[in-house]
């Protein structure tokens, strides 16, 4: 039987959709920048899921809000580093296609 649709289920389904779309994007895109977009989608879905789990159940709300803030902080740090890495890759390989990054050399 199907359980009734609760608000938390809707939020979790949206978060799951963001995760799946992000995964799809990471594999489907050919450039590094396109992959970054997919990663941001996945991180956002994680934040949404954490928030919904804490706000809509008897769990203390602060845990979910602080957890979402930490996810946002990690996403910001990750975006900063990825920008620098993408710049270095562009300088060395003259492009950001993932298939072109096939050499390992210091």
């Amino acid at each position: 039987m199907m359980p009734e649709v609760s608000p938390m289920l809707i939020y979790h389904l949206v978060a799951l959709f963001l995760l799946c779309t992000g995964l799809f994007g990471v594999i489907y895109r050919r450039t590094l920048v396109g992959m970054i977009l997919g990663i941001e989608l996945m991180l956002n879905g994680a934040g949404l899921s954490i928030m919904a789990s804490a706000q809509l159940t008897p769990t203390p709300n602060e845990i979910g809000q602080v957890g979402t803030l930490l996810v946002m902080g990690i996403a910001a740090a990750e975006a900063t580093l990825l920008l620098a890495i993408v710049l270095v890759v562009t300088r060395r390989f003259k492009g950001v296609e993932a298939a072109r990054l096939a050499t390992m050399r210091g």
């Binding site: 199907m2 359980p3 609760s6 608000p7 938390m8 289920l9 809707i10 939020y11 979790h12 949206v14 799951l16 959709f17 963001l18 799946c20 779309t21 995964l23 799809f24 994007g25 594999i27 489907y28 050919r30 450039t31 920048v33 396109g34 977009l37 997919g38 941001e40 989608l41 956002n44 934040g47 949404l48 928030m51 706000q55 809509l56 709300n61 602060e62 809000q65 602080v66 979402t68 803030l69 946002m72 902080g73 996403a75 910001a76 740090a77 975006a79 900063t80 580093l81 990825l82 920008l83 620098a84 890495i85 993408v86 710049l87 270095v88 562009t90 300088r91 492009g95 950001v96 296609e97």
Partner: protein
Amino acid sequence: MPSQSLAYAVLFGHVAFIVVGALMTVLSQNLVRALVGLIMTLFGVAGLFFLMSAPFIGLMQILIYVGAVSILIFFAIMLTQSWSSGDEAQGPSRKRAVLASLTALAPALFLGLTIIFKSPPSLLVAEETEVSALGRFLLEPYILPFELISLLLTVAMAGAVILGFERRKQR
């Protein structure tokens, strides 16, 4: 109850916004347009945070993601010249699309069944938390993650600066 159906209408409006934005993000040929789709999604998720009565986190979402992260990604697009005339212009192959869809469907199947059939009963309306309570929570029991995230941000910033200074070595 009219206010409840209005709330559901607002919720599904945000969900539609998120879905359209996410599909734009992964499917658009033009990377700048994909970034616009990502910003749409981020605004939609911020709206969901407001709906879950967490306005502070919603504002942080707009400030951090829309204000900082998407600008960084825009700089990445601009500096690598990977817009429509660049690398992403010729569309990916069909085989890659099939593989990507399969990869995306695997967690959708397992996690989807889990959250549909195993989710605990949920409240209809979340209660609001004061920002002062949030700050006290962050500085008393959660002080270690708080300090760790500051350390992480500092290290990431320093690493980005060092990577930016890197000169190409002469062969």
